[in-house]
Symmetry: C2
Subunit: 357 residues, 2 copies
């Protein structure tokens, strides 16, 4: 598998982990538990179970390159593909496939997010290996996560007939990629057992994805190939050219329009780590369901997550809340409302507290 | 009224306002709203409506003397009576009466807490003036606060028959001083209209209180008079002697045993400022009932109090909670549980975080 490459999508930005995440330090670079590694480093370590550092590529905006090298010193600068500007996943993946295929025309790519959590790493690696073999035949493969709740925050994949089984791993056809459902649909999806979560993990040859891009978004590909050739030498020009192309996700741009995609259903204990509530779910808890990161005091509390830097947080008689304290800001919110942290960031913007964003 | 003196009890210590209050900085020295004065300074300003600084005395343990002078620079050191050690209110008041009567044998004293809040200052001053005249006749007068809720946290005064009316102010006899009631009794007290809150405010001549001490606790008075004479010259010996006397409140030691006490019922909008909830009640609120001290962001919150120093606190979707952030600690608690802050202090003691207490 010398021609197997991991392509880690590290360009994401967001505010869901404010006050810990900031514009200059997005989620993938956070240590959600201050005692462990950042999400991107955890991702890298997971991939190192089967990839050499030379075969792991990162794609991100240029501002993040120093952060990536800081987190993962063993990665070479040439393995960081600089996205001239954010244009969603299809252009980023297209550009990366173009870069890597120039380096190895037989490259097989496993495209993966940098900021997710996977508990069952052994199964994950096993599935990636099987996917490699299926991809060699010119297939696009995705990993579908077995759902354990009627989640409305993810896209779904409706699995089709069983196509084959390799080393105990089932490979199915894909009937459809489905957008985030409402609650009722999500419950229905869960009950049928035919729907899987779309975790944004895809395996294909560079050749195959470039072929599909040529077919489905030829203008974008044309720009991408030109940008590829001047990317490091003329970054300003690359940026200008990249600015012209359409911003679109790989799901909309490619996956939903390609037939014959395969899905491997896998119960790898995955989380998109999408909120403080998801962080609480992942981390180890005391016997009352509390996650305590830092030297905090919890009295008569249940199912809370409390994280502090330098200060002691004391919370009394609270259930299912998050208290997150950093050097300059503190968030207090019920877990069920922690998505509303966006509103805080909007408000900070409005009152001109840019330094906190 | 040149012989009228305010005696402010400034010796209290406590943990109810942790993390703001500390052993070295008790409640009376706190600015509960960082934009205004400390409670003791507010008390001083209130008294200055009718007393000259020379006629305002403070009694406190020696550690607090620099804090008092810092808050109230106009006060002379000789107006701070140093309690050799905490022995509750009866010995502190006895010693103070002994000190002041040596200086002015016809002194009339108004004894007042340093850490309470009074909104209707005009009525308060008016009542104090009337009480002065009643005290001149050798009476002990207390001010009884008209209750507006069935509070179980205060002692009560059962008022007796109307004795007189001076300048529109009623003066009643006292039927009984009553300890903190249970909820049912408190409701009963409220409904009869005959019970008042005991706010710890007493007016009497120094002569009268020393007379009553001589009658009811002669051994204590004997020690007090000796201590008075060596207080500043031999503080160590004073401390040693003071350590021998009984620790007892003025209520238990004197008031409950003296007949003929008068009470002036007064709706002076008083608060003992006994908890973060009480602080919220006092301070000005936004249209959702929130008190915001500092540059904090409250989204979808009601009836909360948020106070921060230096940091921005963001709270989302919470009702009736307190979030108090200082330089080294943060408290998050429902207002109805804010009395449990004691448990936090106990826990800090247990885990050896003495610097936070």
């Amino acid at each position: 598998m010398d021609n197997y490459y991991a392509l880690v999508m590290a360009g994401g930005s967001g505010t869901r982990f404010w006050p810990l995440s900031r514009k200059k330090l997005p989620k993938q670079f956070l240590r959600l538990d201050s005692r462990t590694d950042s999400l991107i480093k955890l991702t890298h370590k997971r991939l190192r179970r089967m990839f050499e550092p030379t075969n792991i590529f990162y794609v991100a905006n240029p501002d993040y390159a120093p952060l990536i090298i800081n987190e993962i010193p063993e990665i070479s600068e040439s393995n960081i593909i600089l996205e001239p500007m954010p244009k969603n996943t299809a252009p980023a993946i297209g550009l990366s496939a173009a870069v890597i295929s120039k380096h190895d025309e037989n490259a097989v790519l496993a495209v993966l997010p940098s900021d997710h959590y996977i508990k069952n790493e052994e199964l994950f690696v096993q599935v990636l290996k099987v996917a490699y073999h299926v991809a060699l035949d010119g297939n696009i493969i995705t990993i579908g996560i077995t759902p354990d709740r009627p989640e409305t925050g993810f896209g779904y994949i409706k699995k089709g007939a069983l196509i084959s089984n390799i080393e105990g791993i089932d490979i199915h056809g894909v009937e459809a990629f489905i957008e985030k459902p409402n609650r009722q649909k999500a419950i229905e999806y869960l009950s049928t057992g035919r729907y899987l979560w779309n975790a944004g993990i895809f395996i294909f040859t560079a050749k195959k994805i470039l072929q599909e891009m040529d077919r489905l978004m030829p203008n974008t590909l044309e720009v991408i190939l030109k940008v590829r050739d001047i990317l490091t030498k003329e970054p300003e020009k690359a940026r200008e050219m990249f600015s012209e192309i359409q911003s679109i996700s790989i799901d909309y741009g490619i996956m939903e329009k390609v037939s014959g995609i395969r899905v491997i259903p896998a119960d790898i204990k995955w989380s998109d780590v999408g909120s403080w509530g998801a962080v609480r779910d992942i981390l180890s808890k005391d016997s009352y369901g509390n996650v305590n990161i830092g030297e905090n005091i919890l009295i008569d509390c249940q199912d809370c997550i409390v994280r502090s830097e330098n200060k002691t947080v004391a919370i009394i008689g609270m259930n299912s809340i998050a208290v997150i304290s950093t050097d300059d800001a503190i968030l207090v919110t019920p877990l069920e409302k922690c998505q509303d942290v966006k509103k805080v960031v909007d408000e900070l913007e409005k009152v001109g507290k840019k330094e906190l964003i």
